[in-house]
Amino acid sequence: MHVTVNGNSHELDNNINLYQLLEQLKVGKGRVAIELNGKIVPKSQFCQHQLSNGDTIEIVQAIGGG
């Protein structure tokens, strides 16, 4: 299936949840926040969110800024 992560298209296996997506993308899970189709997903619920074809995911972190 196809999903869009941070503006880029990704081809993923079916039946994958947000937690597994972070593992596949090698994103550290400690200091990120995630929006799935425009809705924030609490960290504690990453495992419970199965991804579907066409999903849009934003993964953000804190970086330097003024």
Partner: protein
Amino acid sequence: MSISALSESWKAAMSNNIVDKPLNLAGKTYNSRLIIGSGKYRDFQENLIALEKSGAEIITVAIRRVNLGQNSEEPSLLDVISPEKYTILPNTAGCYTAKDAVRTCQMARELLDGHKLVKLEVLGDQKTLYPNVTETLIAAEQLVKDGFDVMVYTSDDPLMAIRLEEAGCLAVMPLGAPIGSGLGIRNPLNIRLILENAKVPIIVDAGVGVASDASIAMELGCDGVLMNTAIAEAKNPALMASAMKKAIESGREAFLAGRMPRRLYASASSPIDGAFF
């Protein structure tokens, strides 16, 4: 005057000293009135050293997409600058609409485990990075309603400052000059007018270039100064951070001490009486 009388008058003078109250933001007190940024530093280490030298207890961060494909073992900003030790102030830099700013704050709150203190900025123009005050007000109202503690970057318009305070912002942060310009406090009169009306802390955000600029803001009676580029782009950021710490403190003391009146002409410091010439 006897020595004991002298010491009595000295004690009286000391007791008249004004003891400053610490800065209070969202129920937390801060001994430092300096807030620094985390942008434009060469690396996290340089930022951390500047932070320590500045004495600041609050540091701003931006919220951006994770770079996919980068090494997940690499430390992130928050691994180096600990949210346990410092108050992290996420900003909405780069947002040009209220909607984007609100969304950024919501992401920041999730990222920082329910943290409610945010620096709201909604920009209106890429060249000047001047705030879009109408969108800023809309975002401020929504964020306050949603339970955020909002520190708001705005123009140095005294009426807008009142509107933002009325909207429930806990601190109003007028610019001294455009972001990253280092031009100093261009309109001290407006900052004074803002201060006269304010019931919430007023923090100059943006424009400071050197230590004297920070002192001017504090001498006017501001509650604090937020700066990024002045320290990050100094040849020696750690030394500039230390200079800013002193400037904020000396400016605050000068404000509390109360300045002498301005006069057009001279006023001799040595008495005329007793001159023998």
